[in-house]
């Protein structure tokens, strides 16, 4: 009741105030006709609050989103199951699922006079052209009365998250140079005999040769362990994305950052499909979720795309260098740059130096704000030993990628392919 009284709308409060005023005036002036009006107006919100406040409904909601990861422009479906576990509500229930506006219109439902045990299932599509992670829900419930005098707001708590990944385009296969062999696939390599520290062990299985038992590890673990005779080699690639604010131009969907993210996502998918284990490095450093060590070499691009889905600009002026400090040299580095400034040159050189093969897509960022011809960093990159192409707002990424392949064919001699062991 108290809650319902607090939930009086402006109309309800105005009615109450006007009614009380009318009654007081009528009593003072002795106008019984006015008293009637006053009583009617004052009693109406109170009665309504009483009725609404006594409403004992209880709604249960189950929410699922499938799939939870979609590419931009693709649909996901939200399904809701609603059950009334209490009594029939005395007011009108106005339900609104709080969907971010990018995902489409907020679905709204009106429930009225639902009985006990009432159950309904509904699905609705959501779709976004903008990458990102979105929380769908919670469902807001407004309880309203037939005269619009009382309105109670209640909210469910659960939300479901939906990740919208950047758009990707399939890229043509070009010689990359980062792979161990021409096949580009992971292949088991004979384990180079080395020190004991290099030894990797696994559990003993029936049929393993006893001579392969690694006694030292077995003593430590307490179970039989055997040496692994072979070591899977990985084709490792580093995908670098410059997401500094100063490197990009434009806002929102039309910004150069979005083009860069989309290009990076396409390259990531392409590299994964070619068997590379890709880690994502941004201006802030290595993304821990997509580090090399945490992942097997498979075709699962989801963590990379998820990471790319939530990439935003960062304010820092310089690129992080922490990830370069690691001892691991070699491998393929594909970088997507925005504008390149002179202070980055040293870092670019270091990156190229550590990489077995350094490819770059440099965005002609000024073209995104309508100032073409300012030049991109391709020349500077080439000078530092990168294989680089320029990407403008109207260029097709697959064409540019093809061009990158051609430029690599032209520049030709890239040093020894990297061999990186885990």
């Amino acid at each position: 009741m108290r809650e319902a009284l607090a939930g009086l709308t402006v109309r309800g409060r105005a009615f109450l105030a006007a009614g009380v005023t009318a009654i007081v005036c009528a009593v003072i002036l002795g106008q019984p006709a006015l008293t009637r009006v006053g009583v009617l107006i004052a009693v109406l919100p109170l009665l309504t609050a009483l009725v609404i406040g006594r409403s004992r409904y209880r709604l249960a909601l189950v929410r699922t989103v499938t799939p939870q990861l979609v590419a931009a422009g693709q649909q996901a479906r939200v399904s809701l199951t609603l059950t009334n576990e209490g009594r029939t509500p005395s007011g009108v229930l106005l339900l609104e699922d709080q969907v971010p506006y990018v995902l489409g219109t907020r679905p709204r439902f009106v429930l009225e006079g639902i009985g006990t045990g009432w159950r309904r299932h509904v699905t609705y599509p959501v779709r976004s052209d903008v990458r990102g992670r979105f929380e769908i829900g919670p469902m807001a419930v407004r309880v309203s009365d037939p005269f619009g005098l009382v309105e109670l707001g209640r909210t469910f708590r659960t939300t479901a998250s939906l990740t919208v990944t950047p758009r990707t385009v399939p890229l043509p296969a070009i010689p990359l140079g980062g792979a161990w062999t021409g096949s580009g696939d992971n292949r088991p390599r004979a384990f180079a005999t080395g020190s004991a520290e290099d030894v990797t062990v696994r559990d003993y299985r029936r049929g393993d040769d006893l001579r392969r038992v690694h006694w030292r590890s077995s003593a430590r673990v307490g179970e039989l362990m055997v040496r692994r005779e072979e070591q899977p080699w990985q084709s490792r690639a580093t995908l670098f994305l410059d997401n500094r604010l100063r490197s990009h131009r434009g806002q929102g969907l039309a910004s150069s950052l979005e083009a860069a993210v989309s290009a990076a996502a396409s390259i990531a998918v392409h590299l994964c499909h070619r068997g590379f284990t890709v880690r994502l490095v941004t201006a802030a450093g290595e993304d821990p979720a997509s580090a090399w060590h945490l992942r097997d070499s498979d075709l699962n691009t989801a963590p990379l795309l998820e990471a790319l889905a939530v990439v935003t600009t960062v304010q820092q002026p310089r690129l992080a260098t922490g990830w370069l400090a690691e001892g691991a040299h070699g491998g393929l580095t594909v970088a997507v740059f925005g504008s390149i400034e002179s202070m980055d040159t040293a870092l670019l050189r270091r990156m190229q130096h550590q990489a077995g093969s350094a490819l770059a897509v440099a965005l002609d960022v000024d073209a995104w704000v309508g100032k073409p011809g300012a030049g991109d960093g391709t020349a500077g990159l080439t000078q530092q030993g990168w294989r680089a192409v320029s990407l403008g707002p109207h260029d097709r990424l697959d064409a540019v990628w093809q061009e990158l392949g051609r430029s690599s064919a032209r520049t030709g001699a890239v040093g020894e392919p990297p061999r990186v062991a885990r």
Partner: protein, 791 residues
């Protein structure tokens, strides 16, 4: 879509128009012929509502709808008033003429305006039209139904302020119901628009969605509205009683204009007993018999004295010309007018203006105001008196016939109750005298004549100014008592005693104070002096108005009104339908003015026959009935709950079972599965009894195998609903439930069943009610999702 839009628009617009029209019914009191403006307004309202609905549903913008409506309404109004839709040329002149006539009438006549003069209905039609347009604009075009309520309030409040009377309760109820319907329609339309999915992907969304509109909300709206209106009608009955005790503002509306007046009776006695006669005022008139010049009227009789009571003198009731029509005088009564010029001497300073009664025109310098019910004139300005005043008036002499008076109907409801009010402590001896004196007179008028004869001739009264002044209850008893000192007095005692006895008989009566008979001092010139001061009673008879009687013996007042000496023909209603038009006998309600016609005062005139303590008996009876109804409430609530649950599916049936078990005093096992509960319950099943049931029947599962099977079926349905993936279809289990309930009752003792019926624990005990937390809670479910609760 379009059709639904039109129908909803039409419903809204028609409700708005109908509500406004019903509210305009409260203006009926302005004119004697309310049909002349209500009929056209109904037509106009329909035109406006229909036009507005059609325009709005065809997406004409609001700024265009209003001028179009205005145009149509103006043309229709012009057609109704002048016969041509375009108010130009002769039709325009006619329209202007009609309106100016109406304006003049409105300025001249008080409400209700009689039928004989050019009516005010054109003004009312125009006003009503504007209000109809306003309500339509606010409620339909702008969708602000609550604001339209202000317009309705204005309509409703105008008669309260202008006529002074209230508005009948059914007009209020109808208006309130209409207003609430408007609110509801607008709100449900808003809700309907809220729930509709926006955008073009509406087709992709499941068309039904969750949306459920069962119309149940209409029921709750009706319930809330009905209770609110009932309270609004009932509660004010209790509020004003409180108000009258706290604020002693008197009974008239408009607290500022009431004046309590000093009693003129004391002046009367002092002047009568003055040793030397002093000429006080001169009149010049063509009236051959200018007697009974009235100064003031005493209309309130309390235990202590007759007093002039309160006067309601609004600023427009000034003695500056024509007076309102006479109260209660039939139009068929012959009347003659006599002009008077009055010159008051400087030695007669009165705050009351001496006038004839009845009077049709008074023009006096200064702010002299009159009360429409007493028609006596009081100086409204401080310091204003009659000393040295000259003024003129036109007196109307009515040719009243005894036969007409004898046929007069009951006056109840036609005059204020004040005129029949008697103090509660009036001795029974007074009532007995009144009844015994008039025992043989059949009609009210003949009773009045009999009283007059008794005072003048047969009662043995003596005129003597040498008695103590006073006219309260004690003096009255002394004056009427047949003792050596009794039945002696002067005009004050005679007039007041006569008026009291008339009131005992149920005839409205008052005491007039004035001059009795002038002395001729020249051609058509007369002089009233101090010894002419007199008091006489006036009685109200429908059809004749206030009629003078003369109870003072002939030693003082030589003549009596001629109609009191006429022979009254034997009154036989069936013998003379052709000679007497019944409508002539009834007072023309149109000509009687003011608050005296309030219908809510009808039928309450007969307070004189109070002897039996009706209020007490009624109060006790009401209390008994109220307590009885209160005792019925738990039973009614319980039955309503059961009625709702019988068809509402197995879960509701289960709850009903639980409540019935609680009512019967059987413990309901908490926290057990349905099947375990079932094993517990079947122990209490009894055999269906035929004929008289034993006080403590046997119970057990073997006694009611059918009910056990029915319970099994219910349990099965419950389990399906709760545990199976497919869920339950929610069909009714009514028959099974009824079998179980009957078996439970058959197994319970008679006292338990009685208590379950009349004082069900599930209703009256708070403990049995489930405590629910309002907060939402989250719990995992079997299918991986998360169940979220709100409620």
């Amino acid at each position: 879509m379009r059709g639904r839009d039109l129908s909803s628009q039409l419903a809204l617009a028609l409700t708005a128009a109908a509500t406004t029209w019903v509210a305009l019914l409260s203006w009926s009191g302005f004119t004697a012929q309310p049909g002349r403006f209500l009929g056209p307004l109904l037509l106009l309202g329909l035109v406006l509502a229909g036009l507005g609905a059609v325009l709005r549903s065809s997406r004409v913008p609001g700024w265009a709808v209003v001028p179009l409506q205005l145009l149509a309404a103006g043309a229709s109004a012009s057609f109704l008033l002048s016969g041509s839709p375009v108010p130009a040329g002769p039709a325009g002149e006619r329209l202007v003429e009609t309106l100016s006539d109406a304006w003049a009438t409105a300025g001249e006549y008080a409400a209700p305006v009689p039928a004989s003069v050019p009516g005010v209905h054109p003004l009312l039609i125009l006003g009503g039209l504007v209000l109809l347009l306003l309500v339509d604009l606010l409620a339909c075009t702008l969708r602000r139904a609550p604001v339209a309520g202000l317009v309705l309030l204005a309509i409703y409040a105008i008669p309260v302020g202008a006529v002074g009377g209230g508005v009948s309760w059914w007009v209020f109820v109808a208006t309130a119901a209409g207003f609430l319907t408007l609110l509801f329609l607008q709100e449900s339309e808003q809700v309907g628009r809220w729930g509709r999915p926006l955008g073009t992907d509406a087709g992709e969304v499941d068309p039904a969605g969750f949306g459920v509109r069962t119309g149940a909300i209409r029921g709750s709206a009706g319930g809330i509205g009905a209770v609110a209106i009932a309270l609004a009608v009932a509660l004010p009955l209790f509020i004003p009683t409180l108000q009258l005790q706290v604020f002693d503002f008197g009974r008239g509306p408009g607290g500022g204009s009431n004046i309590t007046i000093v009693n003129p009776m004391t002046d009367l006695r002092r002047d009568l007993t003055r040793p030397r006669d002093v000429p006080l005022l001169q009149v010049r008139t063509d009236d051959p018999d200018p007697t009974y010049l009235r100064i003031s009227v005493l209309n309130r009789f309390s235990s202590n004295e007759w007093s002039s009571g309160d006067r309601n003198v609004p600023p427009d009731q000034v003695a500056d010309g024509r007076m309102p029509p006479m109260v209660g005088v039939a139009s068929g009564v012959n009347r003659t007018n006599h002009d008077y010029e009055v010159r008051v001497g400087t030695n007669f300073a009165s705050s009351w203006l001496p006038t004839q009664a009845p009077v049709s025109r008074v023009r006096a310098p200064g702010d002299w105001r009159y009360d429409s019910s007493t028609m006596d004139f009081i100086a409204y300005e401080r310091g204003l008196s009659t000393a040295g005043l000259s003024y003129e008036m036109t007196a109307t002499k009515l040719d009243i016939q005894a036969a007409d008076l004898a046929r007069a109907t009951s006056s109840s409801g036609l005059v204020d109750r004040l005129f029949t009010e008697l103090p509660p402590g009036l001795p029974t001896s007074v009532r007995n005298i009144a009844n015994s004196v008039t025992r043989d007179a059949p009609t009210r008028f003949e009773k009045a004549v009999a009283l007059q004869n008794w005072f003048r001739r047969t009662g043995g009264f003596t005129y003597d100014t040498d008695v103590a002044a006073g006219n309260g209850t004690d003096e009255l008893v002394a004056f009427l008592s047949d003792t050596p000192t009794g039945r002696t007095g002067y005009c004050e005692q005679f007039a007041s005693a006569y008026a009291v006895l008339a009131r005992v008989l149920g005839i409205p009566a008052r005491v007039a104070v004035g001059f009795l008979e002038p002395r001729s001092v020249g051609p058509r010139t007369w002089e009233f002096s101090a010894h002419d001061l007199h008091a006489w009673p006036e009685l109200f008879f429908p059809g004749a108005g206030w009629v003078r009687f003369e109870p003072t013996p002939s030693g003082r007042a030589s003549s009596v009104p001629q109609y009191t000496t006429q022979e009254v023909p034997a009154f036989n209603p069936t013998a003379q339908p052709s000679t007497a038009q019944p409508s002539d006998q009834l007072p023309d309600r149109g000509e009687s003015g003011g608050p005296s016609l309030r219908p809510d005062e009808a039928g309450q005139g007969g307070s004189g026959e109070a002897g039996f303590p009706w209020p007490w008996v009624l109060g006790v009876l009401g209390a008994v009935v109220g307590i009885g109804l209160l005792l019925l409430v738990p039973r009614v609530v319980r039955r309503a709950r059961r009625g709702r649950r019988l068809d509402a599916g197995p879960e509701a049936a289960w709850r009903e079972l639980a409540e019935t078990v609680t009512d019967l005093g059987i413990p309901w096992p908490a926290g057990r599965s349905p099947r375990q509960t079932r094993h517990h319950l079947v122990e209490f099943f009894g055999a269906p009894a035929d004929g008289r049931r034993p006080e403590r029947p046997a119970h057990g599962p073997g006694l009611a195998p059918d009910a056990v099977l029915a319970l099994d079926r219910i349990v099965d349905r419950i389990e399906r609903g709760r545990y199976s993936r497919a869920g339950d279809d929610g069909c009714s289990v009514r028959a099974d439930l009824e079998a179980c309930l009957a078996a439970l009752e058959a197994g319970a003792s008679r006292a338990a069943v009685r208590r379950a019926h009349w004082w069900p624990r599930s209703v009256v005990s708070r403990r049995s009610r489930q405590v629910r937390d309002v907060d939402a809670e989250v719990s995992p479910t079997r299918d991986g999702g998360v169940v979220d609760h709100v409620g």
